[in-house]
């Protein structure tokens, strides 16, 4: 009969295979910090533009500018997140593009795309004051949905984003501040926490 040590080794291996094969575990905390920094920068730029135009009434030119800014922000945040996560996977000797990664990306992007389309529709109907809140809510739902395929902690980030989004819908005057808090500050806090917990 095998020794108990051998059995324990079996169990340790089972556990790690179960987790590694069904979850993307290389989501780096630095991804969160960098995405947050991009979010804060975008929020600051939008704030200054609002200051310049003197009101928050959006004409076509402003709208175009904002959409462009949103797309650039999203691209930067995703790019940096992908970069740090790939780096972490390489360091730990894990595959980056596995079935779990595909599930993660799909579960993240379907609600996110729906949110993007919904925000476009809001803009089309001229309901600009709800856009910041809608972005937060859909992003939070996307995170919550994707959390099954990655580190569990991300669900708390998702729930917080949804909360901020609902507050933004209730008090639209604070929309931009809440947007900055959600996409900037929360990301930095979450990223720093995850970095300390898993990567230090």
């Amino acid at each position: 009969m095998d020794s108990i040590d051998n059995r324990l080794k079996d169990i340790a291996e089972i556990r790690s295979l179960m987790e590694q094969s069904s979850k993307f575990l290389s989501l780096s905390g630095l991804s969160g910090v960098s995405a947050g920094a991009v979010g804060i920068a975008a929020c600051a730029i939008a704030w200054m533009q609002l200051g310049k135009s003197g009101s928050d009434h959006a004409d076509t030119q402003m709208l175009l500018l904002y959409s462009l800014e949103a797309v650039v922000t999203l691209a930067c945040a995703i790019g940096l997140a992908a970069y740090f996560s790939t780096r972490m996977a390489k360091r730990n000797g894990l595959e980056v593009w596995t079935a779990a990664t595909k599930y993660l990306v799909m579960n993240l992007f379907v609600p996110l795309a729906a949110g993007g389309a919904f925000c476009g529709i809001l803009a089309y109907h001229g309901i600009y004051w709800l856009i910041a809140a809608a972005m937060l809510i859909f992003y939070g739902l996307a995170l919550l949905n994707a959390s099954k395929y990655t580190l569990r902690e991300i669900r708390y980030l998702g729930i917080s984003e949804i909360g901020l989004g609902l507050m933004g819908a209730m008090w639209p005057d604070y929309g931009l501040i809440l947007w900055g808090a959600g996409f900037g500050m929360l990301h930095v806090l979450y990223g720093a926490f995850m970095y300390m917990k898993y990567e230090k």
Partner: protein
């Protein structure tokens, strides 16, 4: 003690088969190459062990065409999941008793 050892499943005594089952129980289905990559095995080695699991009806094999290539995917059967759970329970008992 003897009862418990007997309740360990012989099919899962092998490291590779145990590993394959561990991956399959938490995923809907996994293709051959992904399994091979995750376990760093050769084609022949993995195929032999999967054949044993398939023969025991613990694993279901699906072949589909993607373009001209066949994509073979594996998923765990109901009896496979049950056998695996029982094996884990036996392992757990064994370790608890020896403490």
């Amino acid at each position: 003690m003897k009862d418990i050892v007997e309740s360990l499943n012989k099919a899962f005594e092998n490291r590779v088969r145990l590993a394959v089952m561990s991956i399959l129980v938490v995923n809907d289905s996994v293709d051959f190459n992904s399994l091979k990559q995750m376990l760093s095995l050769t084609d022949g080695n993995l195929a032999t062990h999967i054949a044993v699991l398939e023969h025991k009806k613990y694993v279901k094999v699906d072949k589909e065409f993607v373009g001209k290539k066949t994509l073979t995917t594996y998923s765990v059967t109901v009896s496979g999941r049950k056998a695996f759970t029982e094996h884990l329970n036996a392992l757990e008992k064994l370790i608890r008793q020896s403490k």
